[in-house]
Symmetry: D2
Subunit: 276 residues, 4 copies
């Protein structure tokens, strides 16, 4: 069982929490705790033995913890996700394979594409694909159609698995901290369009990728995971794109694993990620 | 203030510990806890605000924790170390520089060499150097002389910073979990002599280094840190040796940082390392 | 066009080769040359503009280069491969996806499994799957059946994509330097069975994977690629297995890319890999 | 012997060069060649056996190669360098140690500091230290004084080993492609002041460092080497600074190794680095 708690810091929080658990005879298998001293903010992730009466446990913790505390007990370990894509297959296929073999830590509900090129791949894995074209539509109309499809499913997260349309603040606000994006650069370098072309022109010796929650500021949401790999003078732009796809796939998979295992907290545009 | 606790696991340990701290109004700044489920062993590292009456705190914890618990409160944050070397300067110089600028997290008491080639470097940093040759002596006589020098200093750890003599079990037993070695291979590959020559002959594509506590079994003590770097067909043995020196230096520095910051527990020939 | 040359070294080889190319007005786009000084062996990979009369070029080079030279001009850039698997999907699915989207640099002819669990996945990608069980058969009978299936296809390489049966020398000899294996450890550490269990028991801080050509000595063939990733005390054996699958997939993909792009030479149980 | 050639590309360059070498019976030990197809630019680095008559060889190559070719034969393998520093010791000490043990691939002529705090360290290694304060001076006066000290030495490169003053274009122009800087960020992210503070505020999960040639555009010169390391939510700004120092030291050492071994070409604000 996983317990997630975030609140303002004060003396005795760990004692309070662990006291409640001990009284219920719940063994703590692992505990990660972090205090952001600058923000005076407390974060804890506790893995315990199984508890039958979760409502009671939640009640007991609520009474004793600060009023601002968010307490999440045993969030559904099998998250539900909707994937949004455009034309590139590399992230989508990685997620579909993991989903197919039940190692994603989530269930893919459907895939929505603003192009239909990836419909065939989804069909091969028996995953519903919805084609919502952006062409000849206002952004609002396009996003209304997206939202209409999304609302027909249960979901915990929307994953932009190389979805190449910029979403409006109005759309994003409907899904606070529920949209995860893979950005094809080592943010904050090369914000915006054609990051590999920018990287090539600058003659960099490494390229990277960034997975982040989407907020209203483009490419400025809380970063979950970043990785980078070396490149050199023999890399044409196309080679950087190809190498970048490998790292994008890896970064998105790692970030989603952290999110789906309930290892990620967000506070003030930053994340706390309790990795293995 | 740092508190380290290791004992057999049971329900309520975190509650007990944090309860004691809360009663004393000691805020927990960070807490890392790990249970080795297979070994039923509990490990915790807690950073708290300052406490004046450590003896009392120790007493309170001892009474409430299992009888087998080892409790260490606020171990001296400035460890004392003795370095043992042979001829290679790369690890020694790295440690002397950090020591000189007070960023080692420990104080180098002296350097002991079985060759005198590094005496000059030590002198440049005003560090006592003791030349204890192994030549024309039995191993026991040599080790007796080493021990005699060591006993004239206060120390927490002996660091074998490329000390190329194999120490006898009898010697090692005098310093249980107090001797740290840097081994020039990615253990357990290439145990024994000339690991870079072995690696070259095998045509490996990576080489590594391993820092570990020294126990009676040569190259078999608990591993603290390992790192590796890519090599390729252009590397002669001498290039591997040179590249290996960089990684040895890096691995030893990282391992010592972990040890000196009291982040390392040892249990049954393995370590628990609570990294940043 | 790619030209690969391997021969004993002597003065003037580059001049000879480039002279032939210049006379034919073939521009050299990239050239990688390596001399193994210890073995007195010359390796070159040359990328040039297109040449129509390859037979004539081959003839001209043969006449001028040493008699022991192996010269390969414009090997088929689209290799044909047969994949052998057992039960694990992670490497197979990665290769099938790349094959499906034509980014593998090779064409998967078929998949052979000694279990039938992965037949469904192959079917989803319209790839023939052959179930050749090893049960209730002598090794020779099993391998004869494997060979019989293999011989019905054209192929350049056999890829053991987590094929968990040990092949006999008699079988291996039929496919010299044509069998590529992914080994789930950082060879030469943890040779043999259950490397992750071995790694767990040893308390290592990194795990790795190795792609190599298969020769008669188990796990001893020429290494093509190795990578490693950090692990720590929180990793159970099952976590190491899971993390290992990611690195196995990555190492095999990288090794195959190098092989399929004709960047790999083998000589005396080692490889020369001209990476990007 | 090392031969470096850069010129516009055309058919037959390798044949011309290797033909000249073969005629002189000079064996090619290793050859790296790169054509920047977009810029139509040819780069070659050739390691050969020893040649006595370098002037004649240079003459023969000049006659046969394009008029725009720059040909450098056997550049002094022991470069002479001047180090510029401010207050931080980590890069300086690394270079002084390597210099002291003759593994830098260059000879440190002197150190110039705009603070005098590092004078003591230089004295310990018998390296001249020149204190040139920037205080109460115009930038031009400060730079004139720097130049005056520099001109009293022979040197190939000026290395800004954490020199925290911005040099004027007028100064930089005096030393074209002769000034190498270590920048404490993964350029082009976090250009300008306090990159670690910027990185902390952005909540990045990796930090990096960049070694580059200094040109008139601040932080925009040709990049030689970049590396990055993971960080996480537990890193305060001071932890990032500390971790950054390790990576800065490593990146600068690597870049200088490449430069001192004549493995680096510059063309149009990019580098070609023929690594091992």
């Amino acid at each position: 069982m996983v317990i997630l708690i975030q609140c303002n810091d004060r003396v005795g929080l760990v004692a309070t929490i662990s006291g409640v658990l001990a009284k219920r005879n719940l063994n703590i298998i692992s505990m990660r705790e972090h205090v952001d001293v600058q923000a005076n903010r407390f974060f804890a992730r506790i893995v315990t033995a199984h508890e039958n009466n979760i409502a009671e446990l939640q009640q007991e913790l609520s009474v004793l913890l600060p009023a601002d505390a968010t307490i999440s007990i045993n969030p559904d370990p099998q998250k539900k996700v909707i994937l949004l894509v455009t034309k590139e297959y590399h992230c989508l296929s990685d997620l579909l394979i993991r989903n197919h073999f039940s190692t994603l830590g989530a269930t893919v509900q459907c895939v929505i594409g603003n192009h239909d090129i990836l419909a065939d791949l989804c069909k091969r894995f028996d995953i519903p694909f919805h084609f919502v074209s952006h062409e000849n539509k206002s952004k609002q109309q396009f996003e209304d159609e997206l939202a209409a499809v999304i609302q027909t499913y249960n979901y915990d997260y929307l994953v932009l698995a190389k979805f190449m349309r910029i979403l409006s603040p109005a759309f994003v606000q409907q899904f606070p901290l529920r949209i995860i994006n893979i950005h094809h650069s080592f943010l904050p370098a090369f914000i915006g369009a054609s990051p590999y072309k920018q990287a090539y022109n600058r003659g960099v010796k490494m390229i990277g990728a960034t997975a982040h929650f989407v907020t209203n500021d483009l490419d400025e949401g809380p970063i979950i995971e970043q990785q980078s790999i070396p490149v050199n003078h023999t890399y044409a732009v196309s080679d950087m794109v190809r190498a970048g796809k490998e790292i994008e796939k890896s970064v998105l998979a790692k970030a989603l694993k952290m999110v789906f295992e309930d290892r990620v907290f967000v506070y003030e545009n930053k994340t706390v990620v309790f990795e293995h």
